[in-house]
Amino acid sequence: MKPIRNSIETSPVELKKEDFVSDQTVKWCPGCGSHIILSAVENAFPRIGYRKENFVIVSGIGCSSRFPYYVNTYGFHGIHGRAHAIATGVKLANPGLSVWVSTGDGDSLAIGGNHFIHVIRRNVDVNIILFNNQIYGLTKGQFSPTTPRGTVTKTSPDGTIEDSFNVGQLVLGAQGTFFARVIDNMPQLLSEVLYLAAKHDGTSMVEVLQNCVIFNDKAYEHLTNKETRDDNILILTPDEPMIFGKNRDKGIAWKEGKLVVVELGKDASLQDILVHRPYEDNFYLHTMLCQMMPPQYPLPVGVIRMVKKPTFDDLMVEQINRAKETSNIRCVDDLLNSGSVFEIN
């Protein structure tokens, strides 16, 4: 992949994974899905191609939010739920930075829910990696807003009584322009998705289904286990038909306004299979993809949506530039002496 060329300065030399490995001991539990995410990021960043000093990682609080310590970039470990707001400030103040957020399902969807929907609505150009382990890891195992209904956790000894958020659906409900979903055992795909996220102008939301081996182990077993995963996962590739299955003999097709699973050669032919177009602004289809899940459907992974819309940060700079061109207040002395002023001699 080529370095991304936009207003962020690219590195004059080619960077390697090692350039981004920090000297801090990684303190996640052995076997935690986060290790793989870390590695995917360290792989993706050199390929993105920006100067290494131009990366900033912002986080909230949670296991996932320890992330900035483990990547050798500028980093800001914030407070619980506020990473999106901090990152907004970083990006607005300095649009020349490539701003990333690492956050958890609790951090972004419980306490941080408001900043989550607003950063998306505004389409600020930040890239968000949401470690969704369907649990509060750092505080040792309470349910989160993504914990499926009925799950027994420390704070729901009789099972939860609330539906969980579907992250993609909420992102689209908040007018998101970029949504991708990856599972933590797919480092390659993740690294690719991160590259596309970086390339996207606007808020890129990358949900990673991340296994918490300690407090919610095997939550994604059906998606990662060798036996079942191929039938439960649909890997989306732009402009490719949505085909999946161990034998790549199943696909997704339209039927009466709904998506259905069809068997190739049996109840459908290749032409019936929907082709994935993440860059076409098809809100309904993209939402349906977000909502599809086993057992009825395979779970789509990859970039589900990436559509164009002006970014908040660009427009802010534009308004300032326009004001600078047109206003005759060019410095504070001008301002102080503007309007109704009189002189005593």
């Binding site: 470990h77 907004t88 300032i320 004001a323």
Partner: protein, 606 residues
Amino acid sequence: MVNEKESVVIKFAGDSGDGMQLIGNIFSDNSAIFGNDLATFPDYPAEIRAPRNTVAGVSGFQVHIGKKRIYTFGDFCDILIAMNPASLKANLKWAKKGATIILDEDAFTAEACQKAGYSSNPLNDGTLGAFHVIKAPITSLTRKTLEKFQLAPKVADRSKNMFALGIIYYLLNRKLDLTFAYFEKKFGKDSLATETNKIVLEAGYNFAENIEAVESKIHVPPAKLEKGKYRNITGNIATAWGLLAAAEKAGLQLFLGSYPITPASDILIELAKHKSLGVKVFQAEDEIAAITSALGASFAGALGVTTTSGPGLSLKTEALGLAVMTELPLVIVDVQRAGPSTGMPTKAEQSDLYHALFGRTGEAPIPVIAASSPSNCFYYAFNAAKIALEHMTPVILLTDGFLGNGSQLFRIPRMADMPAIHPPFAKPGEEYKPYRRNPDTLVRYWAIPGTEGMRHRIGGLEKEDVSGIVTTDPLNHQKMVELRKNKVLKIADDLPSQTVTGNHQGDLLVVSWGSTEGVIHAAIEELLQEGYPVAHTNFNYLFPLPANTADIFSHYRKILVCELNSGQFANYLRMCFPQFTYLQYNKIQGLPFTQVEIKEAILKYL
């Protein structure tokens, strides 16, 4: 005949829709250009358009103009304009005995009187016996004046305020030309609005002249102000400009993250107008996003600022702790209003002091500064930013609704004369450690993301001294707590000495802080003239306190702390200087002190 006066207080009062704020402002500007010193204060209801003719719906604007220095917007008024019975009802208690009261006679219908809570018509029942009353049929004369334009009565009535203003211009012996020019600038030279406003203003003036409304017109000669350029400015605008000035002086971008709240919104609104100065204004989804985005902006190398009032400050509490831990520059402006909780949003008091000083979990010292006049908001905002930037710390700037909405003459400084601001940028080439400090000031160095060779990570967890690595080492924690505290205490080295007005030792020292300075100063000047052995010191730097504070206190037998709360500063002084005894005078009514109250309080202890 013209009667010269040292100073005059005028109160414009009417229904929320009557345009009192507008004529108050026009008159103030006119006075400023005329050369009077002045102070103003608007006083409007919480409701956007409270029901007509009710006391709750009265909107007021008070102006104090003078030949002498003006320190307050005045306790009691010499002239009261009351556009309806409710305005009279709400304000008569603030009129001096013998004051001139201008009334819109037409508005004093039986119904309106009753709605205002009068059982009989105050125009006729002797209520106004002690005053000089000018009954003017303002409504009908305004309509008549505008007859030829064939406006709907509703539309014509919008000009009533100009008729009232015309009367005032006559009483104060003012010319109309500058105001005509103002209309032309605002509405366009040939617009209908310009024409109608001019003609009604003139009609009011002529009316007063024709009926010989007063025996003698009043003349308040220009004040002997220091040479220089001046303008009338509100505290909120001065605050906004002070921040812009600091950013320019530091060579940094100003970033404001804010969420609207009365009475602080005007700072946000003002800054949003000045994009040409490069300021980035982010109206956030709430106060938490406001402060954290500002902190993010500071991390990214800007001067991060957030502005709010009490309920919003509460919400910023957690992020204040993060700012302390990350040791980033950040200015938090709190325009205090009457609390607790939603309280009385359009009224002010000084009761957020406790929160500013102590409202954090953990050991989290933050410098606290208070402005004390609308115009010095400019300088204290500037200094708050200077301290934040030079000492790498959040700084809380306290103003309040009186300061924020009130206005005053402001002598325009030249940016070249403003002090320099030197943020402690990390030196390129040197090995960077995020918590390495300047040994003198204990200030850490600032490495801006994007800078080569300085990648680092900061955050809210306790960090190892120098290296910034996360650690729970016990002695390191104690050390870092102390470093953070001592860093802030060392700011006192940079502060100007605390000064005293009046006797430099003796019986009684009156202590105040923030917006009560003006009224207490005025009271003290009077008492000194009357020969009382009093002194006054007003604090702008609250934490740390100026180094000579205890020394000053030690020269007086009694210390009287006056504040608009239940004694928060007094209690704080008890903590800081337990060796002294503090008397208190407190008021918690959503109103400022009056000069009379202060004098009485002082005399009680003399």
